[in-house]
Symmetry: C2
Subunit: 374 residues, 2 copies
Amino acid sequence: MATARKQNPDATSTPAVSGHSAPSAPSAPSAAHHPGATIYSVAERAGVSIATVSRVLQGAGTVSAKTTQKVLDAVDELDYVPLGAARSLAVRHHEAHGLVLPELTGPYYSELLMGFESRAAELGQSVTLLLTDGKADIARAVRQLATHVDAIAVLGSAAMPPAVAKALHGKKPVVIIAGSPQEGIESVGAENAHSAQKLTEHVLGHGRRSLVFVGDPDGAPDIHDRHAGFVAALRAAGLEPAEPVRVPFREGEGEAVAERILSGDITADALVCANDELALSIMSHLQDAGRDVPGDIAVVGWDDVMTSRYVRPGMTTVRQPVRELGELAAERLHQRVHGAELLAAPRVLPTQVIIRGSCGCAAQPRATPPTRAT
Amino acid sequence: MATARKQNPDATSTPAVSGHSAPSAPSAPSAAHHPGATIYSVAERAGVSIATVSRVLQGAGTVSAKTTQKVLDAVDELDYVPLGAARSLAVRHHEAHGLVLPELTGPYYSELLMGFESRAAELGQSVTLLLTDGKADIARAVRQLATHVDAIAVLGSAAMPPAVAKALHGKKPVVIIAGSPQEGIESVGAENAHSAQKLTEHVLGHGRRSLVFVGDPDGAPDIHDRHAGFVAALRAAGLEPAEPVRVPFREGEGEAVAERILSGDITADALVCANDELALSIMSHLQDAGRDVPGDIAVVGWDDVMTSRYVRPGMTTVRQPVRELGELAAERLHQRVHGAELLAAPRVLPTQVIIRGSCGCAAQPRATPPTRAT
DNA sequence: CTGTTAGCGCATTCAA
DNA sequence: TTGAATGCGCTAACAG
């Protein structure tokens, strides 16, 4: 019965003396893990009030050097770990941001997450991660997440029901990353259409005329935009774009696409792929079948993954500032939590076309700093 | 002043009648986001007590269908999002696990994280991620993390001061992943020494006699074990192992190592590398310089990253059940939180040697299911 | 089946 | 510079 508080159901509600926890048992000598040290045990051990303990721990108010030291010692001896939930309840803040991603294969998500975590940490926020792929009830998971965080960032391609996003929003700040801007929800992203157009123009510049877009424009908002840029470039060149080859961009799909090309089901002298994994896989299978890339057919991707530097020919692609995108999202979340207004226009970060050999340019020695264009 | 509670500083502490929040204002008609809906507002709106609201939300106790519906409606209308902190404080746990990783480049960490998140989610736990690379005060970050979670998993190679691990442990369950088992701290990992020995024996089987290990055995516990297996294989073959080439395994290091080989500073007819990124990079630079792999020199790696299937020759390597490792860690954490005893012996998961062409075997068509050995 | 009540551990006025 | 008291929103006995 050391910690004496809130327990006077007997006495009349007059501020009875409540004997300052008299020097009864001088508490256990030293050592040993108090599994449940609380601010009360620390205060008692230091011989101060919990308010004082709180002050030194928060660095708030002014506490004498001597008292501070006593408290710090007690904290140390007791191995005190504050209970975050109690603090959160009192201050009404979780000091945590949520991030919703579909999954983590490939460098894109990881980069994004690293950027997000890094900036969040700088701002004193921890990050709680939610992966949607394979989850049965995503809406439930997101609501659960909302319970523990102050704000949430969602990747556009994460399978989160728009209804959920809207519901959350209004309760907690939400930002959509690389998604289609929704009414009243802030979004950040990397530029797509313009770079796609530049990239396509570059391929056109090699004299290719029969280009096909590989990837599903309706699968994700950024793919949609890339396709739009592709189409724009073709039209500007007086060409009529063929129907895109709509495949999801898992690695395995590349083989199927390659087969269709080899069998003549698809005819093209250049492939503009929705991302590098797809492009890489297709190129590899084509090469295995004896086709020359880019001689017979050019292949370009998007994302500039590591492998794109190692294959031959090097993969021509587009690099996005993915890490910065993550940082930006964390940053905006934090500002919004602290009262900043929702930004009406999406923030879009510039991207960079990386020219290597697969587009038809002379092969470069691989794994060297890429040539920059744009 | 709708929610009437805990406010009778006037009346004597006798259980005064406290007028049941008489049907004063019938509350706002419909619609609109109550920014701060609480269990009280929901209860009031549904015309029940907060206990009932809690019951339907927790699925605990028995509540009549009609009442349940009223509550659910109120929750819906008010767009009620419970405050996790309050619940955590009351039930005294966070329903969250922490995961400490150095960073997220390459597929290893991502896989691990996916496994961890997936299993944690199944168990109803959310995951809070902490990346140590680039953090100034890691100990502080970890303590901060400990504040919000019930248990923590740490990757062995994460730069977490052992002292912190020990401090945390005893307060919250801790498991070390792929690290050196520490006294009194549970650990899980993938098998290293034995597979390394098998792999080395395989290379030896191709007639190579001058093998060198590339990677720093003191850099991470699992590298240490792989090196040990390497040494064991050589000794068993009557060979004296050369000093390992101690480099960190960032991608950039490969070039430097390749240079030393080309310049004759290092002589070897086979390289056993600490991981695939290193092996890949070295092989690539060697090839660029005109060396034949595996003709002139064999190169093998560890991890079986995606690129290892795409390069030629295919990279011979060792696949670890990384995802399963993550799942196992989450699983153990959860069990420990729920009272399970600390496992004295480390749980170690089996690995698999993947034979492709870079070790000296006949080149395989790439990007096909790997041949299994072991 | 439902309501009352007492904390959970902490931050924070308000006094002293 | 310090302490006493109050409440954050929720769960969980305990009554009824």
